[in-house]
Structures are given as C-alpha cells and as structure tokens.
Point group: D2
Chain length 136, copies 4
C-alpha cells in the first residue's frame, strides 16, 4: 500500500526562478508524512503523550522536474526500511494525475524519548501498521 | 457570504515558543485568499493571462490567541472594501468548530498590469463576484 | 538614535514574482529587532532567564517598492511608543545606501510572564535604554 | 581552502521542538554557498547576465546535533567534486568557535542555460577558482 496527500503550490512556496523553491519539497513531504501517521492513528500529540517522538536523522533528495505556482501536487509516502527504532520513508512528489516524479526523497526518522532524546523502540502497533506500506 | 478554507498546522509553521509563528498566519490567509479567488474562477494563471495580477499594498494584523501544532484551522475571507482597482479583505483564523478569533487581518490588494506594474481596474466580473462577499 | 541591521536577500526570500515575498519583510524586521535588543543587552535567553518574553500583539505593514534577489538591505528600528508593558517599534526597510523606503511597519510587542503568558512590566533598565531610540 | 559564513538563529528558524527546524539548515547552507560564489566574483545577477545559472540537482543531509535560538552558527563550504557542468559542495554547520558538526550536507548543483534550462559548462574562471576549495 501507499499513502498520498494533496498539496497545492502557493506563492509562499515559489522562488524568483518561478518554480517551487527546492527546499520546500521537504516541507511538502513532511506534511504528507504527518498525515500518514495521523491516518495510522499516531499524531504528534498522541506520540508525545506516550513519551516518544520522531526526529529526522538524515535524508537525500533528487530534483527531477520543477513544480509551479497553482500546481496541484500529490505527495506519496511508502516505507523503505523498518527497524525497531527507525523508519526510512520513500517519498515522491507528482503533479496530480501524472506519474512523472518531480522530486524524490529517502528520509530516515528515528524514534526518541521526549525526555532525554535517546533512541527508543517505536510502539509495536505502529511498527505493525507501517509494515503494510513497504514500497515495492 | 463568507468563504472559508481549512489549514492544518504542521511543524514547519511553529516556532520555539511551541505555537504558530505569527508571521505564518499571513501565509495561511494568502492560501485562503488564493482559494477564494480560484473558487470565483480567477486563479493566478488566469489573471496573468489577462494581463493583470494582485499585489499586496498594505495590511494590519492582530494576534489574539495562539494556534498550536496539529490544530485544524479555518481561515475566512470576506470583502471589507471594494474599489475599481483594489480590494480590502478581512480575514480571520479560527480553530475548526470554534468561533473564537485567533488572528485577524485586513489586507489591501491592488490590481496591477503585469507588464508595467501600474494600477489597473480589475475585471468587471471579478468585481461583481466579490460584491457577494461583503463582511457584515 | 536609530538602530540598523543589514539583511541580504537570498533565493529563499523571493517568490515567483521575482521579488521579495511580502511576508518575509516581517522576518527581516524581526531579525533587526532581535539584534537591536541584543545590542541593548537583552537577548531572548537573557529575558527568559528573568522570566519574561516579548510577544507580537499587532502590526501593520505598507509595501512601497520591491526588493530583489542579491539586494543588500538595511532594516531600521526605532521606538514609536513606550509603555510599562509594551513597545511599538517603527521599522523600515531600505536598500543599502538609499533613503527610499521599500517597506514599513509598526509592530506592537508586549512583555509577558513566560510562565502564564500574562502581561508584565518590562525590566526598568530596558525601558530606560529604549527611550534613547524614539523616532522623531 | 574553505569558506565560512556566519548565520544567526532567529525565531523564524526554530520549530515547536525548541530547535532549528531541520529543513532550514538547507537555507543556511544556500546562504553560505551564495556568499561563497559572490566572494569568487559570481553573484546570481552576474551569472544570469552571462546566460547561465546553478540549479540544485540533488542533496543529502545528516543531522547530528541541534542548533538553538540565538546560536551564532558558522556554515562552511568546500568543493567535493568538480565537473565541467556541475559541482558537489560539502557543507557543514558548526556553532561559532566549536568544531562539532551539527549538520552536514553534500549538495550537487548543475550549471544550466537560463533560456532552455539545458546543462551547460560553467565559466572557465569559475571552475579554476573552485579548484582552490577542494575539501581534504
């Protein structure tokens, strides 16, 4: 399975090149990731209440084609790698109804204890839920 | 009539105070304004094709109560003042399902010629449509 | 007296119109305000240690002429109004070496208790220092 | 040789976690890269006049330790790889006066023709200048 989230391009997202500022795709991807986790029943407040949170450990990004003002984008989320305390998400940005990848990123997030920021295993049910979203 | 647009608060929108960074409400309001104009049939591309665009002339903002991470907000758009070449929008930010105003702004936008950036009358049909959205 | 802070325009600050995104002038102004308070001996950490912080209560902004990529700007800070628990700053954005105002804002910040966010008198020495920066 | 640029952390750069929002390090790095190229005599305007510009092709980023509000950072720029039409920059973020890396990124930028966005060799003198900044 794969999860997707719609993102509209507003002026705030563009730069003087007339296209989406490359840094902002990472914001779009985080919005999709956040909604994905919410969809699985784990929003930030929920996780924090249970004493854990995700932090971004590392990422890579490839920029293939530009998105523009007013574009309606679709940002996908899939699981690339799953360990006890970390997940690597594969995320892609498309124009709605088009299969051409505009930008792509692998983002490794680690589960940490909110008190001391030390690595922590993620909740079992979250891990079980994430298993359904492995990328092919 | 009034137009409203939903905005979710993501980490990108917050600051070290744990709340939405006050500058970002203006981005939320622009998203709502953009969707409002799109709803009326005038997205950016459309207007630019006709040789005109809106630029922000001035604004004020009042901050009344903070929005927080994961909040689902509702951003309203109404017309405060309408002239041949400019509109003052009244925009308010609420938490979804709540009538308490978190932030409020009057934003004056002016219609300009895309070639020379000189003031220009806005399209008649846009003006007619905007008349239906006067704030009470 | 007046305090000024240099700000360079980078791609992150621009929008598809090829100019500085109007919302971002407020960030430039906050940088200048922050450096002004640091110059007076009150950075955020300092104030918070003493149990108080400034929050933005309201603002207005006028946009007069656009700044562009690579521009070297100068952002001024002066005091417009000074009360026990609040200050109105007058801030202006210029191109370095030019007296033409590109954007201008009056920004009211209120001193609050960091614990309960209730209004609080600002430190006496800060108030005394601010008096030297009244705008003419 | 290595080039460094100072960056101060303002409220706009932080998130609800009380630290610099991870996406924003990429903005800090671009500021340093831009100043580096300006230092070599090639600002954006200059390059565009000559019909070429740099676009970000891909990047990776590793987050090692958080920067906080009011921190004075130092962002370094070195050349990792140099080809006719592209450069990979190695960039690191430190706290001023400290050698501990907070964040690190390899960023590949490609030189393109401003007209058709097709790959282009970069100016010879720029390439010659970049050779002096190879990372060890």
């Amino acid at each position: 399975m794969e999860f997707s989230w719609p993102v509209r391009v507003y002026i705030e997202d563009t730069d003087a090149g007339g296209i989406v500022y490359y840094v902002n795709y990472l914001k779009f991807m985080e919005r999709a990731r956040t909604e994905f986790l919410r969809h699985l029943g784990h929003d930030h407040a929920d996780m924090i209440e249970q004493g854990s949170m995700f932090v971004v450990h590392s990422l890579d990004a490839k920029y293939k084609a530009p998105a523009r003002l007013d574009d309606q984008l679709r940002v996908s989320v899939a699981v690339q790698q799953l360990k006890a305390g970390s997940v690597v998400f594969l995320q892609r940005v498309f124009r709605q109804g088009d299969s051409k990848v505009l930008a792509e990123s692998n983002i490794k997030v680690a589960c940490v204890d909110t008190e001391n920021m030390k690595p922590q295993a993620m909740p079992e049910e979250m891990k079980a839920a994430l298993k359904n979203y492995f990328s092919d």
